[in-house]
Amino acid sequence: MTESELMDATKPEGWNRPPAVKLDGEGEVLEISMGPHHPSTHGVFRMDLKLDGERVIGLKPEFGYLHRNHEKIAEGISYLACMPYTDRLDYICSLTNNWAYALAVEKLAGLAVPERAEYLRVILGELTRVQNHLGAIGFLIQDMGASGTPLMYAFREREKILDRFEELTGSRMMCNYMRFGGCRVDATPAWLDGVRNVVAGLPAFVDEFEALLRTNEILMARTQGTGILRPELAINAGVTGPMLRASGVNYDIRKVDHYGIYDRFKFRVPLGDHWDVYDRFMVRLLEARESIKILEQALKDIPGGPVMDPKAKIRGFRPKAGEAYGRIEAPKGELGFYLISDGGPNPYRYRVRPPSLINLTVLEDMALGQNVADVVLILGSVDIVLGEVDR
């Protein structure tokens, strides 16, 4: 087999993105600018849409309205001072951002994390995942025009989780909790009991949420078959997280990388077979259920002990020269931090691999040929946070 034949044989469909819709020249092309001041672009995000009637024939995403120079700022401040900035990346899930950054720095400096701190990280990370997924579903249905009812239900539960966050970390959203080699403060037994209470109430809530939405005919009509993302394209574009799993690809960094202590927990990875918005919505819902299972196990087994590596230093932290890439399965996908140290107190190079941005790159492929009303739906199903997209 020649090389070109091999290429043809192995080239998956959607490899070089054939134009799904050809402009046939007879329809009038309507160009509209959706955003940055638009109720359902989830922030200051703009899309240049080309419409033929109501059918999308072109979509150009424009980001950067929320660019805050995060990566460059990080090169000018100490490793510790970067931590609160990571809260502001994906401001819905600050704890997983903390975790990913802490993981990268721990790799760089060779710090160990005490067992109790690992458990706390898992608990906080999974709580974050639950609240993010429920919120994302709520926003998705809000984009469909349900007057925000599911969103309000999701936020009602999220509130309980955020209260626990505040009790432990001092802040509801900008937690700034994890440190290199552990966690900032220890959890009290009362806090753990509070989390147990919240987790005990979650399955009932997810059931309620599902009853409201899962078999709703309008929702099915809107989402099933909409915004199909083929697995080949998803892999090639570097899509990760629930989006990738909804496209049927079994890739979960918790299972792949065995970071933290995820090996100790039994949980499954839900996969979608139809690759559409409904699958993304359901995969998130099912993942939230799995997260609840992890939480139950973690809360049962959490050991005592310190939460900080005694070797870790707060002041004058200078990792040896080298580089490290730490990544975790954040609620939105693979969140990675790439750090280069020159031995000084600041990172020499600091780079974020934001899942939102990379998942957003396939927006046009999913939206071409769809109705303009579906664009907001597809964007909602990507689950972006502009703080992370633009950094």
Partner: protein, 202 residues
């Protein structure tokens, strides 16, 4: 069957509608100015400077070491070191902040300044109703506005403040012991140095 899911959804909202009248679990809204959420101890908002005793200027624990200024991620702290020194709680002569400004509008409540402070001098407040009509000056706090008593600290973060006080008391005791020992040694030495001639004299 078509319409089944819609009816299920309608039943769900109806249940929530009725439930919101009976269950506090569902209707979680807090009517803010009249009602308030019970204060959570760990809550942090903006930093303040702790002082001991009655006089805020004399009692400030801050020694203007400028670590927090350096570590502050958004660089919202501005410190000017004093030219002279004055004794701190331990009696050691220390610099003190001639100027200590925090721009609250820039501060991101990250608590890094608290973590890095070796002198337990800066802590996080829980005051969040800080609205002002002056956009620039109104949120730039100088050291007088920042200074709050240790009692205030005890009121908002009792557990943490108790630990800090114990730690400080330990340090002070250590320092006292040290000074006492030093003083004793000095007196002993003085006595010793004085004694021989005295002895010699005797």
């Amino acid at each position: 069957m078509l319409g089944e899911g819609i009816l299920k959804g309608l039943a769900e909202t109806a249940r929530n509608f009725v439930g919101s009248y009976f269950s506090a679990e569902r209707l979680t809204t807090v009517q803010y100015p009249e009602q308030r959420i019970a204060p959570i101890e760990a809550t942090r908002d903006f930093p303040f400077l702790v002082y001991d005793g009655a006089d805020w200027e004399a009692g400030l624990r801050c020694v203007a070491c400028q670590i927090c200024e350096k570590e502050c991620p958004p660089k919202c702290i501005y410190i000017e070191k004093s030219t002279g020194k004055k004794p701190d709680a331990l009696g050691k002569p220390q610099f003190y902040p001639a100027r200590f400004d925090i721009d609250i509008s820039v501060c991101m409540s990250c608590q890094i300044c608290v973590e890095v402070c070796p002198f337990e001098a800066i802590k996080m407040d829980t005051e969040f109703e800080l609205s002002t009509t002056d956009r620039f000056g109104g949120l730039l706090y100088d050291r007088k506005e920042l200074a709050k008593s240790n009692e205030h600290y005890h009121k908002i973060h009792p557990t943490e403040a108790a630990a800090v006080d114990a730690h400080l008391a330990g340090e002070k005791a250590k320092a006292d012991a040290k000074t006492k020992a030093a003083a004793a040694a000095a007196t002993a030495k003085a006595a010793a140095s004085a004694a021989p001639p005295a002895g010699g004299g005797a």
